[in-house]
Structure formats: C-alpha cells, structure tokens
C-alpha cells in the first residue's frame, strides 16, 4: 500500500524543521573553530552584543562545562568548548538575532583568541604522536579498543590449509541527508522545553537535554517533525540542540538554527575512515577455520558512539559468515577532524575487504565465489562467534536466488574482457542491548467513532516507519489504515523507544504496537462476545468488523462495540510493550559476548559492471538485491529501501564517495564536490524479497534497510575487481585506482 505520509510530502505541505515559523522566532548561528586544534584563550563578544538586533550571545562560560557522552565511560564532549577546540567546526560560541544577516554579522564580530596547537590527522600519526593529546584522559589518542577473542585462534591457524593476510583501506564518507540539520527550540510558559529537529530517536535527545538544563524529563518535549533522512547520523544529541535551547532560554523567544550544507557535512557526523587487516585461514574446502582482524578507525575529535562504531563492522561480518576462531582488535583513534559516527554502510572497507579476501581465497582454491559463500554462510540455529544465537536465517536462499536472477553461472568467468560480476553478502543486527532504552511501549486509545489513535515513540526518518506502525495497528485491530491516527516520536506523549537506531523500529517498535493492539482487541472481544453471545476466543477482527471465525455472518461493527463499551463504563484502550530478550550483561568493550539481539537480517547483492580500460570509468550494467527480511510488511516500501541502499552503499560508496582533506580541513563538504550518485548513473535494480518468517518479529518481520547497503558495497568492489583482474584493496574504486590496477596487471 502507498505510504500514509506521502500525500503531504507531494503537496509540499509536510513540515520539516527549517520550515517551522513560530511567533517572535529568532535566528541562531554557531561560531565554529577554524583551527583543527587550538586552545581558546579568550572570547570577546562585546561588539556582537552591541549590534542592533542581537538578542543573545553564548559561549562555554554560559554552560556548566559538563562533558557529555553516549556512554557513561565516553563523556568527552562539551556542547560549547570552554578550553580548547579539537576540530575545524568545533562549537565555540553562538548568537541569536532578529534575522539571518544580523546573526551572521554578529558571528563575525565575536572575537576569539586562539593559541594553535599541533594537530594530528590520521590514526597512525595520532597514536604515535608526542604532541598534546586531543583528550588528556586518552593516552596515545586511542578512544576505544574492542578486543574479541574466542580462543583457539593460533591453534586453528596452525591447522589451516591456506592462509592469507590482506589490508584494506577506505577514507571517510558522509551521509548527505537531503535535509541539512536544523533545530527549533523554545521554552513555554510552564518552563517546558520544546524542541524540533531531525532525529533518530527523540528519547535519545530528551535525556541529555533534561540533564544539561536540570529539568525533569516530563518537561522536555521533543516533537514529531518530518525528517529528511538520517542514515544513522542523527541519533545522539547534537551540540546545536543544546545551544539552540540555551539561546531560547536566554532570549525568552523561540530560536531556529539552520545548518548550511557544509555544516551538515563537517559538524554533525561522518563515516569512519578505516584501515583493516584481515588474516584468514581456511581448510581445503575453503571453510574458514580462523581469522584475525585488526582495524584502525579514524574517529575524529570526540567519541560519539565509539564503542558501537568500533564493533559493528566486525559484528555484521560474524553474523554473515562462520569465522571459526576469531580474534578481533578494533581501535578507534582520535584525530583533529570532524566527529565520526554510525553510518548505514558502516565499515565499507572492512566488509569489502573481508568479502574480497574470500574471493581471493576462492580463486586460489579453484572455488566459485558463490560456492565459497555457501560454504561459509550463516545457518539458522547457529551461534555467532560472540555467542548470539541466530534464529531465522535465509542467507543461503538469498545467495541462491541472487545468483539465479543475475545469471551467475552463465557469466562467472565467461564475460568479455573488462566486464565483471561480483557478489557480496552481509547481515545486520536488529537491535542490540540498550539498557533501559532497549524496549518500546505503545498506547492505543479508541475514539467513540470506532477509530483509533496509536501512540508510539518510534520515529520516521523517511524510511516509512510511520506507515509500518499504521499498517500493523490496522492489521491487528481489524481496522483500515485510514482509521488509524498515529501520534509518534513526541516525548511529551509517547513512551520511550530505542529510536530508528540499530534498525529496531519494526522489530521492537512495531512489536510494541502489535502487542498494544492485541491487548485492545482482547478487550474489544470481551465486549463483543457479550453482544454476539459467543466465547471471546471464537472471534476475529477484519475490515472494521468483529466476527465469529466459523460463522462470519455473525458479526458486529467495531464502532458499535466501542460505543457499547463506553456506555457500560468499560475501557477498550490498552498498552503494550516489547523488550528484546538480549543479554543485558553484554557490553561493547568490557564484555562483548552474549545474545546481541533477537533477530538478524541477511542479504546478498550481485553486481555486473563494465570498465573502460582507457579511462577506468565504470558503467554498472545490472544489480540484483536480495534480502531476507523475515516478512515483507510492505513490499513497495521495502524495495525502495533496497534501491536506496544500492545507491548509497554501492554506487556512491564504492565508486565516487569519499572525503579529501588538507590539514583537517574538508575539501569537499558540498554537493558539488562530494559525488552522490545521480539518476543517470544508476543501474537497473532487481529486487528479491525472501521471507524466513522470524518468529519473534511482528508478523515475522525483521531489519530490512541496511544489509543491502553493505552487501551492495561488497558486490560492487568484487565486480570491479573481477572486471579488472586485480583485487581492489582501496575504496572507493575511483577511475585512477582502476587504471593503476590495469597497468600493474600488464
């Protein structure tokens, strides 16, 4: 069915944060450090404050200087720096003024005196550096070290028939959400803070704001707003959120901050640059016996989701493939560059490296790459290396179906020169342990006309979560989608939800709504059973009617049941919740073992390309994207996710997207110079949905929007390698690298 939110969007009526106008609203702007590493000696705002139209100027002195962090043990970031700036873009001051021109003028009038410090720009240099640490508490500038060791690694290497070690690199990439970041904040007459901003989970924003302003959670209202994409980059609190609220507090007026495209690129989050070394040992059949992986990640100036970011690249691969015994050392290192966070194609170098290495091993052993995947692929009922039990898993089916649709057997090894075909497979966890915020709760109320209002904390970043909730509620309640009104992603009225973070919205949020609806239905059936004079367990609900399953003519409209209930002082409203059964003792750094989540999705992508041997340019001929989504709640929406994933992870992530730097300064922060895929460059995409019916997911559904981004990246890399006859180890595979590889092969 078409999405419920599409109509407002095609009419241009959907309101995004920057579209909001509130009475007396001021324009806010942030002054950012132009230096990669510098001590802040003094800030003189007097000229700015004297400018007519300026209502407030704030600096670190207006804050308590408290450091914030996603985890208690990663608290390293102030919202306005008090003593030093650690990257070009770090927040140093902010103004609120009557209009944009005045705010910009005021910004330029704020006099900041800096003392530049030596800066470091890559992880290896940062770790070896003898100059001032970026954060005093982190020796060698190492932010996070994740160590996973399942034991027996060296013993199993000794048993291997063939061992390879290869290193793969990829620089950072960026989200480039269509909507640049923006915040609107105001304090109302009850001293409640209201905030609108693109977010990956409003409850992730309300708690830090509650803490920093020392107001109780029930007085922090993060509002629902249309969001122009997140892709993993808008989950944590952003200094702009706090700064905007602070300006609103100081001025007593609503304040709006709109980021430029450049600010969205350098001052929110980016993907990590990574250097990954995989050492893999296999038996004669190509089955992996042992693996040792070391990965250095460029984390930028602050920790962000450090522990998670350092783990997920590894986790996605351990879910996708059996690894035998494995030792993993992931290091997230601080540099004086923009902050890195979780991104949809997280660890493109890592994943592409591992998958490419499987192709290298397959070639050595004379095994077809598809066969190689099948020999190592995850099976249902197995445990991952870090001891998560995998429930539903149709990985093999995705491999086989993708291979069939793409004509793999007819093409592999038989394509003309400089044509290539490649395969990638991946897996994404549907959720992970998130403490008290790991679950979702929903509340459903019936209105007297027999239609329902559903309250849920789930947020929609554009992927269709709102539609998903409406579909689930309607299906469960026996109503039509147009009978459901959704109140969501508003911390005033909705309960805590993990956010569209770790892809849980369907699995956890959807499940919560389904449970709430089931509880409503039970109450409705109680009332209906008395009307129809049948036991409640003989009833079903569909198309606005409650009917006896074996005798559908015996029925009563839901509307009537609601009215009868209300007349008899019976409530048919209900709540429901869902908490994934995960190992609550599992921790990213201190204890990275145990049940990660309840369900994993699996996907395979196969790509066919043609390379121009004179220019190195790549034409993508065909793409087959196949994913095990558990159950397809909305195939149309799912396909849209697959296609977007191919564009982001594959076309962009592997061919054109990367950042270039000069001394911590990003040289391509704009849409002109950072190369996002365009309509004319995309290949035809064939989508195949596989349903393994995950018993724990709502109607069998699980994660569906990220796995293809990863497997597409891997497939693109493999296809180009195949076309060129050289295994590419540096991503993205831009034409210059392809030409160099072709030349080297000659």
């Amino acid at each position: 069915m078409p999405r419920v939110d599409s109509r407002a969007k095609v009419m241009g009526k959907a309101k995004f944060t920057a579209d909001l106008k509130l009475p007396h609203m001021l324009v806010g702007k942030i002054k950012r450090s132009p230096y990669a590493h510098a001590r802040i000696i003094s800030i003189d705002a007097s000229k700015a404050l004297a400018l007519p139209g300026v209502r407030s100027v704030v600096t670190g002195k207006d804050t308590e200087g408290v450091k914030w962090g996603v985890f208690a043990y990663t608290r390293d970031q102030q919202f306005l720096q008090t003593d030093k700036a650690r990257y070009i873009g770090d927040e140093v001051a902010a103004v609120a003024a009557v209009d944009e021109d005045t705010a910009q003028k005021a910004l330029d009038l704020i006099d900041v005196t800096y003392e530049e410090l030596p800066a470091v720009y890559d992880p290896m240099a940062a770790m070896a550096s003898e100059t001032e640490l970026i954060h005093a508490e982190y020796p060698n500038n190492i932010n996070i070290h994740v160590n996973i060791d399942t034991g027996q690694v060296d013993e199993n290497f000794a048993k291997a028939h063939y061992i390879r070690e290869d290193t793969f690199t990829a620089p950072e990439e960026s989200y480039f959400q269509a909507e640049p970041y923006a915040v609107v904040a105001r304090f109302d007459s009850d001293d409640c803070l209201e905030v609108w901003c693109p977010n990956g989970g409003p409850h992730m924003k309300s708690k830090p704001l509650s803490n920093s302003f020392k107001i109780p959670l029930h007085k922090v209202k993060i509002r629902r707003i249309a969001i122009g994409g997140a892709f993993g980059g808008r989950s944590e609190i952003c200094p702009a959120d706090y700064i905007c609220a602070l300006l609103a507090k100081k001025t007593g007026c609503p304040v709006k901050i709109e980021f430029t495209r450049e600010e969205n690129t350098i001052a929110t989050r980016q993907g990590h640059a990574m250097i990954t070394t995989h050492r893999t040992g296999v038996d004669k059949e190509g089955r992996v016996l042992a693996r040792e992986t070391t990965c250095y990640m460029d984390g930028g100036a602050y920790s962000s989701t450090g522990p998670i970011a350092t783990s997920v690249p590894f986790l996605s691969m351990e879910q996708a493939y059996r690894m035998g015994s494995v030792r993993y050392n992931g290091y997230r290192v601080y540099t004086n560059k923009p902050i890195r966070g979780m991104i949809r194609t997280h660890g493109r170098g890592f994943a592409c490296g591992l998958d490419t290495q499987l192709d290298m091993i397959a070639e050595h052993l004379g095994i077809d790459p598809v066969e190689m995947r099948l020999r190592n692929s995850r099976q249902p009922g197995e445990y991952t290396s870090t001891r998560s039990l995998v429930g539903s898993c149709a990985m093999d089916e995705t491999i086989q179906k993708a291979a069939e649709k793409s004509g793999w057997t007819e093409k592999w090894g038989k394509l003309p020169p400089f044509h290539g075909i490649g395969i990638g497979t991946n897996s994404v966890q549907t959720g992970f342990p998130m403490g008290i915020r790991g679950g979702s709760q929903s509340f459903i109320k019936f209105n007297e006309d027999g239609e329902a209002t559903v309250m849920s904390g789930v947020v929609d970043n554009g992927q269709g979560n709102e539609n998903m909730l409406v579909q689930i509620a309607a299906e469960e309640l026996g109503l039509l989608p147009e009978d459901i009104h959704l109140v969501n992603a508003d911390t005033e009225t909705t309960s805590s939800d993990p956010g569209s973070y770790s892809q849980v919205s369907t699995f956890v949020g959807g499940q919560a709504v389904k449970n709430a609806a089931a509880n409503c239905k039970a109450k409705l059936f109680e009332v209906a059973s008395k009307i129809l004079k049948v036991p409640a367990d003989t009833l079903a609900a569909k198309n606005r009617m409650i009917y006896v399953q074996d005798d559908p003519e015996k029925c009563v409209p839901i509307k009537k049941v609601v009215r009868v209930a209300l007349t008899n002082f019976i409530s048919v409203n209900a709540e429901g919740g869902y908490w994934p059964k995960v190992d609550m003792k599992r921790e990213w750094v201190s204890n990275p073992y145990g049940q990660m989540c309840e369900a994993f999705s699996f996907g395979t992508t196969i790509i066919e390309v043609k390379v121009d041997p004179e220019t190195g340019q790549v034409t993508v001929l065909n793409c087959v994207a196949c994913q095990d989504v558990g159950k397809a709640l909305n195939p149309l929406v799912l396909e849209g996710q697959f296609e977007g994933s191919v564009a982001m992870g594959g076309q962009g992530g592997m061919l054109t997207e990367y950042h270039e730097w000069r001394e911590g300064r990003c040289l391509n922060p704009t849409m002109l110079d950072y190369k996002l895929p365009l309509a004319c460059d995309m290949p035809p995409i064939h989508n195949i949905i596989v349903e393994s019916i995950e018993p724990k997911g709502p109607y069998g559904a699980k994660e569906a929007a990220m796995s293809i981004a990863m497997s597409a990246a891997q497939a693109y890399a493999a296809a180009v390698s195949n076309a060129v006859g050289v295994y590419m180890d540096s991503f993205p595979v831009t034409p210059d690298k392809i030409l160099a590889a072709i030349k080297k092969k000659k």
């Binding site: 132009p34 070009i88 220019t615 040289l667 391509n668 002109l672 460059d681 210059d736 030409l739």
Partner: protein, 334 residues
C-alpha cells in the same frame, strides 16, 4: 545561504548596459544565468557593489549564420545552442560541450554561452565558504600570497573548467567585446592572461556581446571526463578541429588541438597541431603522438585542485585528445 547586499540594475538596451559599465566598471559584475556569480557571492568570495543584469537584453541572444561564420549572442542560453541544427552541423564540438554542462535544469535559460566562457577559474582550495577559508592564510586568488594547490608557487594556479571555452578555442572562435563607444574583436586564443586571479584580457568596462565561429569544411569534436554524467565540471577535456587537405582528401590539412580543465586557460597546442598537418586521417600513431605531446604540455601547468588525482588527469589528456581526433577524423571521412 544569504547573498551579500548589492545595487541592482537591469538595463534594457546594450547602450544602457555599456553606459553603466563605463561608470561602474571595476565595482560591477555582470549577471547572466547566475550559476557562477551568485554561487561565488554566497560563498563570500566576492561582494560586488553593483550587479548589472543581462536579463532584459534579449537582443544579445541569437544564433545566426553570417557569410562564412556563425554568430552567437553572448546571452544565448545553452539549451538553444544544443537545439540548433546549424551549430550541430558546423560546430559540433560546441554543441557537445554545451550539452555536457551542468544538468538540464541549469541549461534551460540559466546557463548562457557568455557566462560559460567567462566563468571564473576554479580550485577546491579557493571555491569554499568564508568559514573554510578563515582558519588559514588567504591564497593568491583570495588576496593572499600562498597557493595551496602547488607548494611555493608565487602565482595562482586555478583552473579554467569551461567546456564552452575549450570547444570554442578548437573552433578558432573570436569574441566581440563592446564598451561605451568602442568595439573590438579578439581571438579566443589571445583572450587569456594566464593569470589565475584575473584570467581574462578584458577591461572592467567591457561586455562580451558575441561569439564568432568560422564555418569551414572542417569537423570538430569535444571530449570530456567527469566523475558523474551530469552536474560536474570537467576534470579534463579536449577540443579538436580537423580540416582535410584540399587536394588529398584523406590527409589532414589543418588541425587545432586544445586541452581544457588543466590550466588557467584552455591550452591551444600549436606544435602538436602543426605536426598533424599532412598526416593521414587514419594515422593513429600520429594521434597518439599528439596525445602524448598534449599530455606533456598540460602536465607542466596542471595542479591537484579539482578533486581527481593529478596523475589521472594528466594521463587522461592523451586519451581525450586521441578520442577527439578519432571522432573528428571519422566525421570527415563520413
């Protein structure tokens, strides 16, 4: 992003426009489609006191054949050039070049030929926001004394990325520059200063009004390379014009080879062009030699400032020249 403030005039005759330029020349900028000027103003690269818009000067938009030439008004929009059968037939390099500029919605009536020729030179160290440029010394083009694209360089090394200019130089085009009470015509090859800060040999009180392309029996070709199929400026391009020898139809009588997007202006390669005279239209070895010569010349100028590696761009010079030569040669033989 806000534009800085300015005074706006939209003169409705050429005379009035030239009058304004005479008065305000050094403090004024011409606005045609705005895709270059307004973007640079938003980034804080310049803040002209006056903007003189060509919007009302419809008389400066035309494509006509006049004796042995095609005359194109500077304000002609790219879409009209692409749609012109005359240009496609007699100056196909220009047709191709215009087609590759930007994306369709920029071409309609935003991008003009004059604007494309007169777009400022570019560099990814320079074409950045005021914020980006604030934490380090200004570069030459920005009023400072340093070049970030080439260490120790005492001059600006920004790059001319105009598709139109490279194609037109191959076509041996001339430009008509008008000022109050005066008009002069200059060959495009003589129009560049090789100064990255002020790339064009024109006075502040002059207006580009017309582009003149000689119609010959030659065939032209334009080749360019970019990351994506639309939006992007070229990272290397080549324009070629070949004329068959009057007597020996299978031999090159005259060649013009131009490399673009590698230097402060398109580079007309006189030596390589001359060496092709007398060669067969099928002489791929000669084309290869020309390509290599072009590559060597371009390499001395090129710097890493447009997003693709320098090595790659230089290597591709040869490939673009060879492709252009082959296409033009095939067109002659057809």
């Amino acid at each position: 992003m806000r534009l800085p403030q300015f005074n706006y005039t939209g003169p409705d005759t050429l005379e009035k426009a030239l009058d304004l330029l005479a008065q305000r020349g050094p403090d004024a900028k011409i606005l045609a489609g705005g895709t270059d000027l307004l973007v640079r103003m938003k980034k804080g690269l310049l803040a002209p006191k006056y903007i003189i818009s060509l919007k009302a000067l419809k008389d400066l938009a035309y494509i006509k054949q006049d004796k042995g030439t095609i005359r194109i008004g500077a304000r002609t929009c790219l879409a009209d050039i692409i749609a012109s059968d005359l240009v496609q037939k007699e100056a196909s390099a220009l047709s191709t070049a215009c087609e590759r500029v930007g994306a369709a919605t920029i071409q309609h009536f935003r991008g003009t030929l004059g604007g494309n020729i007169l777009q400022d030179t570019r560099c990814f160290h320079y074409n950045q926001s005021a914020f980006h440029r604030s934490g380090r010394q200004a570069c030459h083009k920005d009023g400072g004394k340093i070049c970030y694209a080439r260490d120790e360089s005492d001059r600006c090394n920004s790059t001319c990325q105009s598709d139109g200019a490279a194609a037109l130089m191959a076509l041996d085009a001339r430009l008509v520059l008008a000022s109050k009470g005066n008009e002069r015509t200059v060959a495009l090859t003589d129009f560049y200063t090789t100064d990255g800060i002020q790339p064009f040999a024109m006075e502040p009180n002059e207006l580009l009004t017309e582009i003149i392309i000689p119609v010959t029996n030659g065939k032209s070709s334009y080749q360019r390379l970019a990351y994506r199929s639309a939006i992007d400026y070229p990272i290397v391009c080549a324009g070629v014009l070949l004329k068959a020898d009057a007597g020996k139809k299978d031999t090159i009588g005259e060649a013009r080879i131009v490399v673009g997007a590698m230097a402060r202006s398109p580079l007309f390669l006189a030596k390589e062009s001359a060496e092709l005279k007398g060669k067969l239209l099928t002489d791929t070895k000669a084309f290869q030699k020309a390509g290599n010569g072009a590559m060597n010349s371009a390499s001395t100028f090129a710097v890493h400032n447009v997003g693709a590696t320098l090595e790659y761009r230089c290597a591709m010079v040869s490939e673009m020249i060879i492709r252009a030569l082959k296409e033009a040669a095939q067109a002659i033989q057809a």
